[in-house]
Symmetry: C2
Subunit: 367 residues, 2 copies
């Protein structure tokens, strides 16, 4: 499936925190066709480190298709012959330097100064991401979402959709789900970002005219990488040195293959990730509690949709317990909820690489 990146401009956007942004340009992709009633749309809110490119290739020579291509396309679980699939780059996308991404965030030019915002960009919340996608869906003519299906940070948006626009959302698929932050995750997210702010090149976020805090960003991405994995990773990699002729038992100038693999993956991502955007993404997640209230039960009260909740059993980022908390709160509100755990030892990544375990449940949700 060949797909095309498009850009939508939202003329004026008011953030939850009270800031006003103008001329907000956001990249998006659509697959399939919107029906006349405007009610066959499925939104895939972006996850933390993904973009609107969730399916297909831009060109036949692309190395890999969009991240959820295995479930999106003609005849697939999210069938583009039946549904109008929409995904957007949204605000504060961490891949701000990716040439295929159009987003607004700390690296954007502040029209008031003509310079990048840096950490003066307004703090963005999950509800803001929902509202930005709502503006795009409205402009595309979508009258009702057949479903919103989100992974990880996308699950937060999916949950928030169900209570922000309860009459607009018929079904919610929340994979690798979390509906409310706890202290553990708040601290975990602080920890991700802390290597960035420790790097002297970060310079309180004003690094756009000099060298980027690449060392700190690399370490942040290492943390992200580990937290997305689990005990199934690298049982054969432990004692393998990164340099075959040097032993990490005798020299600090030698390390381990597992670390080198991780660092290479992170270094590649530093080319497209903006360090400040990581901090904004973390803060958005840290602030999240569905509906913006203290308890999950109260937060889910406005919801009218049908729900599918799918954590991964070995996930140590968004633990299955988080999905179970959402199930409990939804059931107390009388909602129809299906719960399924993806089995495996791959951690958070199982939500992507083992998604085939959830396709049958996703099909049932969409019926």
């Amino acid at each position: 499936m060949l797909v095309e990146k498009k850009v939508m401009e939202i003329p004026a956007f008011q953030t939850v925190s009270g800031s006003r942004l103008t001329g907000v340009r956001i990249g998006y992709e659509v697959y399939g066709r919107l029906n006349a009633a405007g009610d066959n749309a499925i939104l895939i809110p972006r996850s933390y480190s993904s973009t609107s490119h969730v399916a297909g290739k831009y060109s036949t020579t692309d190395a890999a298709p969009g991240i959820f291509d295995s479930v999106i396309g003609p005849g697939k679980t999210l069938d583009t012959d039946r549904y109008f699939i929409v995904s957007t780059d949204n605000l504060i996308n961490v891949a701000a330097k990716d040439p295929t991404v159009t987003t607004v965030g700390p690296s954007s030019t502040n029209p008031a100064t003509g310079k990048p915002y840096g950490m003066r960009f307004p703090i963005i919340q999950i509800r803001d991401l929902v509202n930005a996608d709502k503006a795009i869906l409205d402009a595309l003519g979508v009258k009702k979402l057949h479903a919103v299906v989100g992974w990880s940070m996308g699950s937060m948006q999916a949950f928030e959709w169900s209570v922000a626009y309860p009459d607009f959302v018929s079904r919610v698929g929340a994979l690798l789900p979390i509906a409310q932050m706890d202290g553990y995750t708040v601290a975990q997210l602080d920890n991700w970002g802390s290597a960035i702010t420790l790097d002297p090149k970060w310079n309180n976020g004003d690094y756009y005219e000099g060298p980027a805090p690449t060392d700190g960003l690399t370490r942040t991405l290492n943390t992200l990488h580990i937290t997305q994995r689990s005990y199934g990773w690298g049982t054969n990699l432990a004692a393998t040195p990164s340099k075959p002729d040097r032993s990490p038992a005798s020299s600090w100038d030698a390390g381990f293959a597992a670390v080198a693999n991780m660092q290479a993956a992170s270094a590649a991502r530093t080319k497209v990730f903006d360090a400040n955007a990581i901090l904004y993404g973390n803060r958005a997640m840290q602030l999240f509690s569905v509906g913006g209230v203290a308890t999950l039960e109260e937060g889910f009260r406005p919801a009218k949709a049908k729900f599918l909740i799918v954590p991964a059993r070995s996930d140590v980022l968004f633990f299955p317990a988080y999905g179970q908390r959402a199930v409990e709160a939804l059931r107390k509100n009388g909602r129809d909820v299906t719960y399924l755990e993806i089995d495996g030892t791959g951690g958070h990544f199982d939500g992507v690489f083992e998604i085939k375990q959830a396709t049958s449940a996703l099909r049932t949700l969409l019926q």
Copy 2:
């Protein structure tokens, strides 16, 4: 129970990596009395961030007793009326700046230069910790260990004891166990230390004559703190701001109570922890595979002891799967192994705070 810190000097010590250390002074504590046969001793190898102070108080005015006081003492699970309990500060103790700790490591003076070793101190392995404790036990007249009972990094030593000195060790209690590194844990440990090496004050480990890399060390200890917890932490702390009059939704100058709590705990520990010693402790763990060979089954072949393996169910540092791998390898070698999981949502910390769940099994092991 009032206890006393003592110091043993090992005149000459050869490391596994081939370095020779002289005049190695190591702090230790003993509780109970060694019997005439010298065979009623129980060794408690230190864990990563603990010291030889595992029970009792130095003075009646101490705020808290040693870390495993709940199970060590007269009539307790590790009964000091019957057993001679030994614990040591060992080499490369991370709490090198704690005045009650005596250890040798990167902050020690290199006799060849009269200056601190820094990162020129030899790389230490788990087997070295075992050998140092063996020298101390020999000097104390211990002929045989009734048991070695270790938590976390202490479990590595307990396992290594069973194959390094199989005729010396009758029973092994391994709590929060890991017998062989995998890529996940190797990368995780790299991640702990990476904030230290990112701090410009670290200066390649030569900071002893200037300011210590306290910012980096604090962040490292934050990572340690999170990794030792799990999804049971802070369900009520998420949205709580660190400053009651500022909202983290509107200002970067405001954060979350969970982060502030963690940072305060870490900041306190920076007063006694040496940053380089963290790197040495991490490397020792990263290099670990029981018996120094590639497979667990081969590694455990020399073992003769009886084993008790006790992971904590929600531990995301040393997952229950790691304990299960050890059980499988031991059983393939025909060893008598009891396996018990500590139930809870507190993560690695459950191995300390929920140890009462394992006391009955520990008593059975010691019979």
